[in-house]
Amino acid sequence: MSAAAPQTWDEFMEGVWKQNPTFVMILGMCPTLAVTVSAINAISMGLSTALVLIASCGLVSMMRNVTPKEVRIAVYIVIIATFVTAVDYAIQAISLALYDALGAFIQLIVVNCIILGRAEAHAAKNPPWPAMVNAAGMGVGFTIGLLALGVVREILGAGTLFGISLFGVGFQPWVIMVLPPGGFFVLGAWLLFFSWLERRKLRRQSSATEVAHHV
């Protein structure tokens, strides 16, 4: 696989849009629903996952020629767990408040199916550079997904965005948005929106081909 620019871009955009982990593949729902009460939590969770994803896909890809298939899952898990531990320490060093807000979900990145899925389906079959680009795309896609939820939930649930007050002091917070049901409602609304976009695109395409047939 050559690393020509347009191909690399396609590889990257694959995860960001076409195969977006949150809205298209519906993967990694546990952190998606649990930590998106504010935009800053969502971004930190997304970036942590992206970092683990890129680093572990790179290492998996480098070791792909020396990994016997019988032990590949064990190897992947060890590699992923290592980077999760490193990220866990890094977040503790950056901010304890953030670490408390994300809770167990940092450690739970180990069992996030996006990462194991990427390692098994892509990194194990491709050289390090494309594997890392693909992983970066997936990571960015996941971050966008989390951010989409986090922004809506923070605005309605607290009247703020990234901690900046939007509506002044009199804002009535929608308590439900920072509770678990709010996560489900907002996720459902976003999924509805994206499937509506998809439907509209399909309809336009089919009507375009119909016209072409008539002509």
Binding site: P68, V71, V78, I79, A93, K125
Partner: protein, 245 residues
């Protein structure tokens, strides 16, 4: 490693139960070698990350604890961590020690600028509406009273239970909440307890927030439980904390 190309292409779908017998098994040697290599690399990465972040993490934790203690004891300038052993007597916890003996109660002594004891801070927890409410409270030996509370962690309903953070009337309970010991120093003279809104009659009672009685009760119980366990051991030894050592 003998047949890298055959291991690379073949992907077995997980859903298929029976493995295909045709694929040759890899020999044990390369497997062990690979696992050893992976473990070595990963071990190095983890040790590197731990060493690299150790100082920052420790500093963060210290700052967080200090901030919590300073919030309930505004006059404090420096703190030290102690444990009160079950049989009586207190001992300072050295830096880096995390294990506390069973039955012992952890607390913080805080000193003001001159090195005089500014108060004691201790943590307590009790079941609230949704989950355990953990609070830190400050204790002032001079007046034998609780002088301030801060919430360490809680998951109470936003807008109702979390009023314990903001409700001015409720927080006024802890300006000087009576926590005197009995004459023989065996237990509190009056149990610290949350009572229904508007019925507070003694200096040891906590006037609950209307509509958030359960959470208020949890705060009262958390203070009471910890104070009952800690104060009888602490008060006879107060002079040991007299100045910053």
């Amino acid at each position: 490693m003998s047949e890298p190309s055959s291991t690379e292409k073949k992907v077995i779908p997980i859903a298929v139960a029976a493995p295909e017998a045709a694929v040759p098994e890899s020999p044990a040697g390369p497997m062990i070698r690979t696992l050893g290599l992976v473990s070595a690399i990963c071990g190095l990465i983890i040790v590197g990350a731990y060493q690299g972040t150790y100082d920052a993490v420790a500093a963060n934790k210290r700052i967080a604890t200090e901030r919590a203690v300073f919030k309930v004891l505004p006059k404090a300038k420096s703190i030290g961590e102690f444990v009160a052993a079950p049989g009586g007597g207190i001992a300072r916890v050295g830096a880096g020690e995390t294990a506390i003996p069973p039955g012992a109660v952890k607390f913080f002594a805080a000193w003001d600028e001159a090195g005089k004891l500014a108060g004691i801070a201790a943590e307590g927890g009790a079941k609230g509406y949704a989950d355990t409410v953990r609070i830190m409270f400050g204790y002032q030996p001079d007046c034998q009273c609780v002088v301030g509370i801060g919430v360490v962690s809680m998951r109470e309903t936003p807008g109702i239970g979390d009023k314990i953070l903001t409700d001015k009337e409720f927080l006024a309970n802890f300006n000087a909440l009576d926590a005197k010991l009995k004459e023989d120093l065996s237990a509190l003279a009056n149990e610290v307890k949350a009572v229904k809104h508007g019925t507070k009659s003694g200096a040891w009672q906590v006037d609950a927030i209307a509509g958030a009685t359960i959470t208020s009760r949890a705060v009262g119980k958390a203070i009471n439980d910890t104070a009952q366990a800690l104060l009888p051991r602490l008060v006879p030894n107060l002079d040991k904390l007299g100045s910053k050592s």
